[in-house]
């Protein structure tokens, strides 16, 4: 499944799209601790978090994550958005909380 197909299926808001919308979704990781994601998420994963600062995109880029989803209606900081666009990594959003969107993504990936 591509990031675009996931975004459509989960009705996600799109803050930054670009080339990365074609990325393949290999799995998901839900965490607000940056070192947890740094240490344990893998390439191609979608990262679900409430953090909105620029460092999330730095981590997404370094870890080659497929996309980042911000929960609970949070919006990205301006420099976060700029870096997402520069790195062509999709930055998405939902009004749902982490538990709900993680559950829906899990079901989508493991029907």
């Amino acid at each position: 499944m591509t990031v675009k197909e996931m975004a459509d299926a989960l009705n996600l808001r799109i803050f930054a799209a670009g080339e990365g919308m074609k990325n393949k979704v290999e799995g998901g990781y839900t965490s607000d601790l940056l070192s947890d994601v740094m240490g344990y998420a893998d390439a191609g994963y979608v990262w679900i978090t409430l953090q909105t600062h620029k460092n999330i995109m730095a981590i997404a880029s370094l870890k080659e994550l497929s996309a980042v989803i911000l929960v609970k209606g949070f919006e990205p900081d301006e420099d976060t958005l700029a870096l997402a666009q520069e790195e062509q990594i999709p930055l998405l959003g939902t009004t749902e909380q982490a538990f709900e969107i993680s559950g829906r993504l899990y079901r989508l990936l493991h029907p």
Binding site: L33, S35, K54, A58, I59, D79
Partner: protein, 137 residues
């Protein structure tokens, strides 16, 4: 090949710059992807430690045909009890840093897990030096 970088304490917007540059260079050199992943995790964590705890620091990365040797030297408060600092979950990070999702006490354990050789020495009141070696196999 040698790369070097300066880090300013507290400058979180630039955190990851060195890791990103080293990653790009190793990719260009055709280093195995699984090795690059370990370098990125270890160097990013070490870089963030300097930003979160020290006043300033320097990073050097020495890339040879069989390994990368990275050295981070900072001027900062240093670490009084390194054994305690290595304990997963232990952190002295400020509340502000923790709210950003850093300071979970996973940094040094992450470095340790990904490095082939990891040395840390610190002089309280002066600063800390971290050395990380990762073999290309």
């Amino acid at each position: 090949m040698n790369l070097s970088f300066q880090i300013q304490g507290g400058d979180f917007t630039s955190a990851g710059t060195a890791s990103s540059q080293v990653r790009r260079t190793l990719k260009e050199l055709g280093v195995d992807a699984s090795v690059i992943k370990r370098v990125v995790v270890a160097l990013y964590e070490a870089e963030v430690n300097v930003v979160a705890h020290a006043y300033r620091g320097t990073i050097s990365a020495e890339i040879s045909p069989d390994k990368v040797f990275m050295k981070l030297v900072d001027e900062g408060p240093g670490i009084t009890d390194i054994e305690k600092a290595m304990t997963p979950g232990f952190s002295t990070a400020s509340q502000e840093v923790r709210e950003m999702g850093f300071g979970a006490g996973m940094g040094l354990p992450n470095i340790c897990r990904n490095a082939d050789v990891f040395n840390i020495h610190s002089v309280p009141g002066k600063g800390t030096t971290v050395e990380i070696t990762i073999q290309f196999k």
